[in-house]
Subunit: 132 residues, 6 copies
């Protein structure tokens, strides 16, 4: 159970109302997801989080599906159940099937393994990017 009372979707708080409406309009949904209702217990922080997410997740050079794939990869690496569920749903909605999902998670598993091996052997970096 959440540690705070989730703020009512039809709250009177004007700052929160504005954000709730923008979330639903942007994501084309008619409920406000729990995470935003929890963050709404501190309206200024809710606004900071939402405006930031909205800006970053908009399609740019990197498309929407790739951004959701990154979100899922990070969430799986961090073991966050809420986010694993919501971003798996997101990549499904954007067309990724079980085979594609399996490929994505195979890479996630592989690099969690490779990262730890590189650290464990204290390997010195030798493949370096070219700073631009």
């Amino acid at each position: 159970m959440s540690t705070v009372k989730l703020v009512d979707e039809h709250t009177d708080d004007p700052k929160v109302r504005v954000v709730f409406e923008d979330i639903k309009a942007t994501k084309k949904i008619d409920r406000v997801p729990n995470i935003w209702r929890a963050l709404a217990t501190h309206p200024e922080h809710l606004e900071l989080c939402w405006t930031r997410l909205k800006a970053i997740m908009a399609s740019g050079k990197v498309d929407a599906l790739t951004k959701e794939i990154i979100a899922l990869a990070v969430s799986a690496t961090n073991g966050c159940n809420y986010c694993i569920n919501s971003h798996t749903a997101a990549v499904q909605r954007l067309g990724l099937d079980n085979e594609g999902l399996g490929e994505v998670l195979a890479v996630v598993g592989l690099f969690n393994q490779m990262n730890k091996l590189a650290d464990a052997y204290q390997v010195e970096p030798d493949i370096l990017p070219t700073p631009r």
Copy 2:
């Protein structure tokens, strides 16, 4: 400094030679990267790691650049310096510029933040995938 002596690129060990040649041929490089030389101190494990990585990183439904982006996202989340360097180099080689890299890392930073907030408020999952 690595905790083991990196195995010589021109080693006599036949099992290791086979893997080293395959790494260079597959990645179209002429040096064997340090991580593989460290893993080579246990030839069977080297072979398991390389064959697995080769299979998983081959293009499939998810293309090569997206797979390298996932690798970078996982490595940044885990703070593995060796892998952050090598996968940043990889995405650069595949055409991602600073703007694209900034977009990718913005998503990585955003979800490291969102994951911890969802855990911190113990939010119950409500956006669920449809199991297929």
Copy 3:
């Protein structure tokens, strides 16, 4: 469900009894929390853990509320459900309301993001403490 049978609060084991009584007296509670009952399956380890926690969490230069805030920040960063719950309860009991909790968790989220960005760009430290 816990992986071991939680030791009965009214156990006969003298070493465990001493610790259980001290926990209840120190924390001014009348039940022994589950974590201590699980640790009690190895009485020497229970004693090491409790004496250590009791010493470290006593007020010093850093006051009790700040120590519980640190505990919550660490637990949220690690995603430990047991500890997120118990330390949120603790900061509430010490007077932190939803606005204060929101501020604390905003900082937790922010630095989980900033940490990963600093690692991702492999930024060299330039703001250094003065070793004393």
Copy 4:
């Protein structure tokens, strides 16, 4: 070495200039720290990060020293060298001496230990906050 060229402190980019000036004015420093110069390779993301950090780190119900202590606790838990250095410097500037620092880090170490033990024994939460 950073994976991107750090943007010059005296850059012509107007968006970046505005942020750099605000960083120096807010933190009362005359250099722009490396992390911001790396983020500046994506000016919109730089602006999002800075405006967010500025808002969250301003004193509120939780004072500035406590916020820097939280930042240090998170950074130590995540093992981020850049941030451990800069936030240790910050708490020093705000008056925390070695004894205070030792108390803070003792709590950080303690709960990294307690979190893993609670997870390891799969202990069910029993100390619950009162959702407000």
Copy 5:
């Protein structure tokens, strides 16, 4: 609930059938555990994971109980509930009692604490292995 439909234990898929039979024969069990049924949604990845695990977990210079202890230590450090449960069951089956389990987890807790303290104080390595 899992994010994919667990593949039926009596599936027609020939690639999956082969792996399922080998899992049951190797582990001397008559059900296929959930993790393998989830991975089976991508048959090639299932095969890669299983063949790798089977090779690595076979007794070698390091015996079976020690390998399961390592698995439990990693899983507790990562907070993975599925794996904490299955590897606690495994070490039990191999003869570790509550006292032994308590000793193992005491070491896990201790080094999660010591790791963060070493990072927090940015201590320079001075106890170095002799690379061989």
Copy 6:
């Protein structure tokens, strides 16, 4: 560089001297390792850490080499350079050669991968320990 001045091995502080002598006697070394000199900036915390580590690392049902292997597994999973170095040195001193080290690290890598896959698919635990 460490964030605090490492306390001199020949310090006058009586509480620290006692611990330093015990460390050298117990580990049969003639230098005090850096981590203990950093912790010594808060003498009570130094004493708590050392007495705890000494008790936990003493041979019990689980032998000394297995305990050092667990320490290395945790340190590699957490990416702590100081501890990876010192515990690799420790397992070497206790007789583990490159082949044994490779086996240990193969298990560490494997379960960092399996943990994330189990979380990523949100697999429900089905292999459960028998609570005793």
